[in-house]
């Protein structure tokens, strides 16, 4: 298992950089993770999505997919891709310290 250090705290992450223990995440880590991924500044719109994604995870045990985000986060899919160009579901999940969302079977 790999580790990463954010805001002076060492956390366990998987091969793709997703937190293995979401409870290790703190808000101060988010901008640092985002920067690593090429998102230089977290705007209030970014935060809205990050909080939504994390709340959903805590509530349901899974990160929302792009379709769920587009339908329920109050941010359109086009806008989501502007905020998180490499894939909103994946990028927001990584910044929010939750596992990579998986499609259902």
């Amino acid at each position: 298992m790999a580790t990463a250090t954010y805001d002076g705290v060492e956390v366990e992450v998987n091969d793709e950089g997703f937190f293995t223990d979401p409870s290790a995440w703190r808000e101060e880590m988010a901008p640092i993770i985002a920067k690593e991924m090429g998102i230089d500044e977290l705007t209030p719109d970014h935060w809205r999505v990050i909080r939504f994604v994390r709340d959903r995870y805590l509530e349901t045990g899974g990160g929302p997919t792009v379709r769920v985000l587009g339908k329920t986060s109050g941010v359109t899919v086009k806008e989501l891709y502007r905020l998180f160009p490499k894939g909103p579901a994946k990028e927001a999940a990584k910044i929010a310290g939750i596992p990579k969302p998986v499609g259902c079977i």
Binding site: T65, V66, K78, G87, V102, C104, I105
Partner: protein
């Protein structure tokens, strides 16, 4: 004197109605409701585009599949009110129930994706998930002389998640048989990061695509279909051009679920307890088949295995007894791989599809192509109409997944989904 209202008379609704007809005391009333009188044999849709199924033979009357004991109401359901225990219908008085069973399945929503139903729809782009779409695609494939075919799953979940892959395998065989395979490019475009969700199965199916020269494009979230340029465009700006697109549109639950307070999630699927199959909104509403939000396949075999648990639990509820927590997510699917061969996969919430043998006397191979499995898939049509819908158990295939015969890798394999549910 209780009333059980079953919403939907497709695979799940019919088999649960017929099970209850045998099980419940004579003075209980069983009502099944659906919009029309056409029961479609959905597994046949896969064969339709290749001229291997007769559309007229895939449909039988819904009423004829139901036990005489079941009252059939043909009407559109507009709403269920879980607090008032009432189903609302068009041109029919509201119906009071003691127990409701949601069996209204899932439907495709082709207008959710920008441009999909534009002027190239049914001309250059088709879906085989409907009888009309499959028939139109058959006519187009019949005259297809070469070019680029793109098979695209727009978003999950979908019914029968292996069907789009089977379509690729059958298309490969179809064009080989016509000696024009070298003139046809086949590309499989998926929002997943591999051919399938479950790791072992995904890698085996991925190499089967490769063996057949089918290109795999992953993590593609289709944003729009552009018929001016016959191109799929993803939300992150990637493009996949096509001459012929076979699209699997996103799915939702039935329309009335969206209008029923507290019943469904954002996509009209009904939050359901994974083991007892009771809904999360009310103790007297049970859910079966594609209508649930469960991390199980949306497939007839799953509805069949759920049928035993749902019918028992309806009876337990009416008797004031505690519910069985017996469903394990069992699914059992044949995967057609072309040229009269098929594979069998068998899995549940916790165990992903693994190689080995299904524990029948003749050792049906799992996750491996064989002629026997193809014959099994063909024979299934008879089993469907005469055993499964009648609510009978299929001999030797229990509702819980058998673990014997499966080759478990060193260390236990758990699917990501089951890990998630344990973390809840």
């Amino acid at each position: 004197m209780s009333t059980v209202a079953i919403i939907g008379a497709g695979t799940a609704g019919t088999l649960v109605a017929n099970r209850l007809a045998k099980q419940l005391p004579r003075n209980d009333t069983i009502i099944a409701i659906d919009l029309d009188n056409s029961h479609l044999y959905q597994p046949g849709l896969l064969f339709l585009p290749f001229g291997k199924a007769n559309p007229a033979k895939l449909v039988r009357p819904r009423r004829g599949q139901l036990s005489q004991r079941v009252t059939y109401i043909q009407a559109l359901v507009t709403k269920i009110d879980p607090k008032e225990n009432t189903v609302y219908l068009v041109d029919h008085p509201p119906l009071h129930y003691d127990v409701a069973v949601i069996a209204s399945g899932s439907k495709i929503v082709s207008d959710e994706t920008e441009g999909m139903t534009g002027d190239g729809w049914l001309k250059d782009a088709f879906t085989f998930y409907t009888l009309e779409g499959g028939t139109a695609l058959r006519n187009r494939l019949e005259n297809f002389t070469g070019g680029r075919i793109v098979v695209n799953v727009v978003d999950m979940p979908i019914k029968c998640p292996v069907a789009p892959l089977e379509f690729c395998f059958l298309a490969d065989a179809f064009f080989r048989d016509r000696s024009i395979r070298d003139k046809v490019e086949i590309t499989y475009v998926t929002p997943l990061d591999g051919a399938f969700t479950k790791p072992v199965c995904s890698s085996i199916l991925g190499s089967m695509l490769k063996d057949r020269g089918v290109e795999l494009v992953t993590e593609f979230n289709t944003g729009s279909v552009d018929y001016q340029r016959n191109t799929l465009v993803s939300f992150d700006g990637r493009e996949v051009p096509f001459d012929l697109a076979v699209l699997i549109p996103p799915h939702t639950g039935a329309e009335y679920v969206f209008h029923s307070p507290g019943l469904g999630d954002d996509f009209g699927f009904v939050p359901t307890d994974p083991k007892s199959l009771v809904s999360k909104v009310a103790k007297n509403i049970f859910v079966i088949g594609d209508a649930t939000d469960l991390p199980a396949s949306k497939a007839g075999s799953v509805a069949h295995f759920e049928g035993e648990v749902v019918s028992h639990n309806v009876q337990h509820f009416l008797n004031g007894e505690s519910l069985e927590e017996a469903f394990d997510g069992h699914a059992n699917c044949f995967i057609e791989s072309g040229h009269s061969k098929a594979m069998l996969i068998d899995f549940n919430y916790d165990t992903e599809p693994l190689p080995g043998n299904f524990p029948l006397r003749f050792g049906t191979p799992l996750l491996k192509e064989s002629r026997l499995n193809h014959l099994g898939k063909l024979a299934f049509s008879w089993v469907y109409w005469h055993v499964l819908l009648k609510g009978r158990d299929i001999p030797l295939i229990g509702s819980q997944m058998p673990t014997s015969g499966k080759r478990f890798p060193a260390g236990e394999v758990r699917s990501p989904l089951s890990t998630q549910s344990r973390d809840r």
